[in-house]
């Protein structure tokens, strides 16, 4: 019991890798941040990694190492078999865990620090990416990045919210929380795309627009409103994908699109579960209840016809196999883009407006 506490307490938060872990970095599944509900899986994963390391050492030295001998009791002769058995167990556990994630657990997966973020997707999905800076009025907001690129040979404009992947980049990108300049940059790039007939791919991953004094002084509300207006006004296809967290007005500002895709474990909501809990339950600790009530999962939103497609994530979430999720998203984006590019400019505009005007009308009317 005591041991468990010692081992698991530090794992509740993002733990810095120790030297041993660093040596194992090349191995897959080495997650630095461990979600509470994944502990049992993580334990198995660590065992597998330890076994692999030992197997590696053994094959190098040709005999049992000192360390291996110390653990001799639990170390099977045929480690390959044991590793396979454990891997199978991990896969089974992950499958049942991820098939039954609660909305609150999904929120945690969607915010997982190791989850691929916007720039990682752009790099993997696109070629020739040329970022374009600034709103031409005040600043270059790093929370919203955008630029010209090629996606499967097609010239496109990509725009997305970047959260950053370590402390330095998180600060640089303001944790994905854009200020008015960010939305004004997005507006500028959408206008540019419209002028050169470039389809727009947006990637949503933000906890929300930044709530700050300067942001308010420079018209945060107006910037978001104009960004929504611009989305609804352009004559080129817009495909939005919620890749992580779709936080309220900050998200819809770049997601009023012809098609809205959503990764399997992403969330999209009018307010964060914590925020909702602190207002309606008057207690932030009811975040799990709020997450249930808000219907913020991709599956719920598809049911409400607010999103169009769910893009499947690899077993155990996008952070366990970024390459697989990139491939799935690439295919889904390609299909969506092909469909929308068959419409002309007026048709695209009309489709977008009808789509949003129709939302909620299909849910049945109160007596």
């Amino acid at each position: 019991m005591w041991l468990e506490i010692v081992i698991w307490q530090p794992l509740r938060v993002v733990t810095p890798p120790n030297e041993k872990d660093q040596a194992l970095e090349k191995l897959p599944l080495m997650s630095l941040a461990i979600l509470d509900f994944e502990k049992s899986v993580t334990e198995l994963e660590r065992k597998i990694q330890e076994l692999k390391r030992l197997a590696n050492k053994q094959s190098q030295s040709g005999e049992k190492t000192e360390e291996g001998a110390a653990k001799g009791d639990s170390l099977p002769d045929d480690m390959g078999e044991e590793i396979a058995r454990l891997e199978d167990k991990v896969a089974k556990q992950l499958k049942s865990l991820y098939a039954n994630l609660s909305p609150w657990q999904k929120a945690q997966v969607a915010r997982h620090p190791d989850r691929p973020h916007f720039l990682a997707y752009v790099e993997a999905l696109c070629e020739d990416f040329q970022p374009l800076s600034g709103d031409r009025a005040f600043h270059d907001d790093q929370a919203i990045i955008g630029g010209l690129a090629r996606f499967r040979g097609e010239r496109v404009m990509v725009i997305g919210q970047e959260k950053g992947h370590d402390m330095a980049t998180r600060v640089k990108h303001n944790f994905g929380m854009a200020r008015p300049e960010g939305y004004r940059k997005a507006i500028r790039l959408m206008a540019l795309a419209d002028r050169f007939n470039l389809p727009i791919l947006t990637f949503v991953d933000t906890s929300g627009a930044y709530p700050g004094v300067g942001a308010e002084e420079r018209g945060q509300a107006e910037a978001i409103a104009r960004s929504i207006e611009k989305c609804l006004d352009v004559s080129v296809p817009i495909i939005a994908t919620v890749i992580g967290e779709g936080g309220s007005g900050g998200a819809i500002a770049i997601a009023a699109a012809n098609q809205v895709l959503m990764l399997e474990h992403a969330i999209y909501s009018v307010i964060s579960p914590e925020g909702c809990a602190s207002i309606l339950w008057r207690d932030g600790s009811h975040a799990s209840d709020a997450a249930n009530a808000l219907k913020l999962t991709a599956q719920d939103l598809k049911g409400l016809k607010v999103i169009d497609e769910i893009v499947a994530e690899p077993l155990g979430g996008a952070h366990r196999d970024p390459q697989a999720v990139v491939q799935a998203l690439s295919d889904a984006l390609y299909v969506a883009l092909q469909a929308e590019m068959s419409r002309d400019g007026d048709g695209l505009k009309r489709q977008r407006r009808q789509k949003f005007l129709g939302m909620g009308r299909n849910l049945g009317v109160a007596a």
């Binding site: 627009a209 709530p211 700050g212 004094v213 942001a215 308010e216 002084e217 420079r218 018209g219 945060q220 509300a221 107006e222 978001i224 409103a225 104009r226 929504i228 207006e229 989305c231 609804l232 006004d233 309220s248 007005g249 998200a251 819809i252 500002a253 009023a256 999209y268 909501s269 009018v270 307010i271 909702c276 207002i279 309606l280 339950w281 008057r282 209840d289 709020a290 009530a293 808000l294 219907k295 913020l296 939103l301 409400l304 607010v306 007026d346 505009k349 009309r350 407006r353 949003f356 005007l357 939302m359 909620g360 009308r361 849910l363 049945g364 009317v365 109160a366």
Partner: protein, 323 residues
């Protein structure tokens, strides 16, 4: 028992009970300057403090009456929408909260719309009712907004909205967020029909409402002292630890920073709107082509309208382009 106890004493509790009623009904204190105000006076001053001119929140129907000529207007029906689509329950069922608000206010939801004459010109006015669940934006509000916009297009009338809202209605989840693009589509249709869309921001206008249709007016007016912003003051303080400057998020603060056009006192509001519409559109009533004739097309500007009374809409459009 003397005549004194018999006669006077019973009167005392009666007298004091009556006296207790008086402050409740007849006297109120100004939330800004704390001075006592004789309540009946407030309807004369349109709910502005006679001492410091602080603009208190105004009931929706009073505002309609203040704006339309002779207080005459026709309400636009509020369309029915799916009630409680998420079956939302926090400490209380959303369905119950909704019913309570309906009973309390006598309204179906937080946005009311009406049309009628203002300064002799047909206008459509929508007013948000802060008394109804904090003026929160849900499907009913979005649908009413769309209906009012359609009425404006049909009647070729300017569309004016008075905002007052804490933001999205959480109990409708993502569907409340979707009212941001929905209302934007509706106001784009008004603008594309060549009609003015005017916004009057009143206290308070925040959150999803401020970040959509409230900030997309051709002209943006505000009442003095109204709190207007995206994020709440408490959230900003908690998140950033920054000190908020004096007058932060007030109408005057926003005007100074170039975010809104003009701050107008409530008593002058109707005259100002009439004046602005007349400056935008001229004194004559608009002669515009019906929306069916020009789906999604930009319409000729107002200057080109003059002298083209007999011309068809297409001719007018051509003239405008040639000019």
């Amino acid at each position: 028992m003397s005549w004194l106890t018999d006669y006077v004493r019973p009167r005392i509790p009666g007298f004091s009970a009556k006296k207790k009623e008086v402050p409740d009904d007849l006297w109120t204190s100004c939330p800004s300057c704390q001075q006592m105000i004789y309540a009946p006076l407030l309807s004369e001053t349109h709910r502005c403090c006679p001492h410091c001119e602080h603009h208190m929140r105004m009931p929706m129907l009073e505002r309609f009456a203040l704006l339309f000529d002779d207080g005459q207007f026709e309400r636009i029906d509020i369309p029915s929408v799916a009630a409680d689509p998420l079956k939302f329950k926090d400490l209380k069922r959303y369905g119950d909260r909704l019913k309570d608000a309906q009973t309390k206010t006598g309204e179906k939801d937080s946005l009311g719309a009406a049309h009628g004459l203002m300064g002799g010109r047909e206008v459509v006015v929508a007013i948000m009712n802060f008394a109804f669940m904090g003026g929160s934006m849900g499907m009913a509000m979005g649908e009413t907004f769309v209906k009012a916009a359609e009425k404006a297009i049909e009647a070729k009338a300017p569309f004016i909205i008075f905002t007052a809202s804490g933001g999205a209605r959480m109990q409708e989840g993502i569907l409340s967020l979707m009212q941001m693009p929905r209302t934007t589509v509706a106001l784009q249709m008004v603008k594309e029909a060549g009609l003015p869309y005017l916004v009057v921001l009143t206290d308070p206008t925040t959150g999803g409402v401020s970040a959509s249709f409230a900030m997309l007016g051709d002209l943006t007016l505000a009442e003095p002292g109204a709190q207007i912003g995206f994020a709440g003051k408490r959230v900003i303080k908690q998140t950033t630890g920054e000190d908020l400057p004096d007058g932060f998020q007030t109408a005057e603060f926003l005007q100074e920073r170039g975010i809104i056009d003009v701050v107008v006192a409530r008593k002058d509001m109707k005259d100002k709107l009439v004046q602005l519409l007349s400056l935008l559109l001229g004194d004559a009533l608009l002669e515009l082509p019906s929306p069916e004739e020009v789906p999604g097309e930009r319409l000729p500007d107002v200057a080109a309208e003059e002298g083209s009374q007999d011309a068809t809409s297409d001719d007018a459009a051509t003239e405008a382009k040639d000019a």
